[in-house]
Symmetry: C2
Subunit: 419 residues, 2 copies
Amino acid sequence: MTSPLRFEIHARCSHTAARVGTVSTPHGDFDTPAFMTVGTRASVKGILPDFIRRIGGQVILNNTFHLMLRPGSELIERMGGVHRFMNYKGPILTDSGGYQAYSMADINAIDDDGVTFKSIVDGSSVRLTPERAIEIQNQLGADIIMAFDDCPPSVDPAAAPFNQARLRHAISRDSKRSRTYDHASRLSTANERTVRWLDRCKAAHANPNTQALFGIIQGGTDLDQRTQCVQQVCNIDLPGYAIGGVAVGEAFDAIAAVTQHTARLMPNHKPRYLMGVGYERDIVAAVRSGIDMFDCVLPTRNGRNANAFTTTGQIRLRNAACADDPRVIEPGCDCPACDPIAFGWESAHETGFSRAYIRHLFMSGEMLGPILVSLHNLRHFQRLMLDIRLAIRHDGWSKFAQRWPVAVEGLTFSASHSN
Amino acid sequence: MTSPLRFEIHARCSHTAARVGTVSTPHGDFDTPAFMTVGTRASVKGILPDFIRRIGGQVILNNTFHLMLRPGSELIERMGGVHRFMNYKGPILTDSGGYQAYSMADINAIDDDGVTFKSIVDGSSVRLTPERAIEIQNQLGADIIMAFDDCPPSVDPAAAPFNQARLRHAISRDSKRSRTYDHASRLSTANERTVRWLDRCKAAHANPNTQALFGIIQGGTDLDQRTQCVQQVCNIDLPGYAIGGVAVGEAFDAIAAVTQHTARLMPNHKPRYLMGVGYERDIVAAVRSGIDMFDCVLPTRNGRNANAFTTTGQIRLRNAACADDPRVIEPGCDCPACDPIAFGWESAHETGFSRAYIRHLFMSGEMLGPILVSLHNLRHFQRLMLDIRLAIRHDGWSKFAQRWPVAVEGLTFSASHSN
């Protein structure tokens, strides 16, 4: 078996676990640490696929859960696979569908063999097992595919803060299934299943030479469970591994602690992927713990809601303060909204699209608003990754901290490392 | 007074009134016959402004009615005018707001001085007079601005076929205002007002050196009224003239008859603009009657509804027949959806975006569906205009007819002129 994936590490940070590398796939390379652009239904919401490339995105994530329900993986296979279907030649990763099945659907049954849930498209009963999840991902044909895992709530309901909506949501789903919810036992069941299912995923994988299967480490915020899971999962030889079940509503500290604890127990020479993370600060902390890959819906989701990321924090473009504001979202940004000239847009003024105009678009319900802010936000995260890679190569965290206040808030490294 | 607009005619068709020319404005030139891209609220729905240029659009139309209500012409003026506001350096035309005030708003009063209506944004009472309509357009700062006119229903309610929804709508609005609606007297009142208001518009126009004011000819489908109106309107010296009030739901024959009758009475050396038209066949017939400018929401409106224009007719991309269809919308089309490689999209496959994929986008409510089909449709109309200009220059209507079956259906010229 030849691995379809090659991971080369080019440079390491001298005083953290951060590293810069390249992941090579059958559809091209991407630099790490990488922020993957989320294209849930084989479409990055509102963005023409070539723009992903032009603003620095090198790898796209599609959600198996959504695509299996509509239009169906068999149809996508007939259309030549997901690269051809969404008309994107670069690297693509699909998740297994497990996480969404747990977090989005009405679960009818969960057992040691898989999960049965209600389709959010037509209400029909859908069964996902390790074998079926891999079969679907084989049909989709992404370069990196994810193991089907059991996703427990990350922390005990009793300990969950009130404002963490997604977390409480996941908990209430789990509580429904058991009147006497025991978090510790739920975690260990999930770990056992996750490992057993990973073996079955690997055995079911029909295209090991063209699609790289990644294992997923569960264990919630219980570090002992994480230790146990990482050892068992990484004992199964695979081209890469992911940390799952951490970005479901926990606070920054919890994500950082789990990541730091788990990452150092993962193989050094294989890509490490922290699923569903996150904000700039989460990403920086995780990179420094040795994480290589990220994905998150924040750039497009917040973009659609008129929230623009900047190096000093988010701007709400619907605010009345923007009504008369001739400035671009972030002066100095090289995205198509802030600097259209850089993109060869001959019809544009050098000044870019003003906050006043973008606010007008949102107030009027014009699609161009979400499009412009999503482009800006996607570029924001790619600029962040570029600067992170630069900081790692040149031990330049102090300069990085000056450029990215939003990404280092509350972190102490900028003071202790003066370079 | 120097006219801000120059119109040069480069070629004339040997056996029709069609002509090819260039309109020069302070923000650049556009070729005629021209199809203007509609950007109602200073945004072409879903389309980044530079794409308008890249797919051959040379002039954009913005609607004064919408912009005066939100964000307000004063704000746009403070932001440097509509070119800067929407970040588009090319030629822009604004209408007067009159047509939408009549067709979209609840009218509270209409009199010899203007119209009072209810804002569709906040319900407030808004007054439009010739002077105010011009003041607003002066603030917006488009290259071509339109006179404020009185828009009567184009045909008598008694004669209106049932399926012409927009027309019947307009009639019912007018009927509300008078229990004893007399169409002939409504038309002549509208004509008198339109001419009187045009004088007031011209007098109120503060920027005659930088913004070209066009007069509008009314008269419904009554050719005598059209004759009278065209004489009175064109007696007022202006850089261009438009035919209004014909594309409000009439059949092809009615539009063609009014256009043919009216166009030949309009000055030969000034641009002639047929407002709100239309389908391919309407455009071809009108071009052959000597019309130089068009605008219509069809490309983007139908694009948002998954209806794609092709040279042989529209395709409904939501149809189940498209679910498994690997073909692009129209093979041979050079739009970004059908031929992304031609647009330098390095990440795209040579085959373009399949109907199957585009259908999936619409079924999933993904913005990219409307975006791709709108781009295709906009390019479709620009290709139509390119081929029309070619046909005029080379007397090539017969070849044109072969390439554009949808545009010549029921027309007889292709047989009688064999070149």
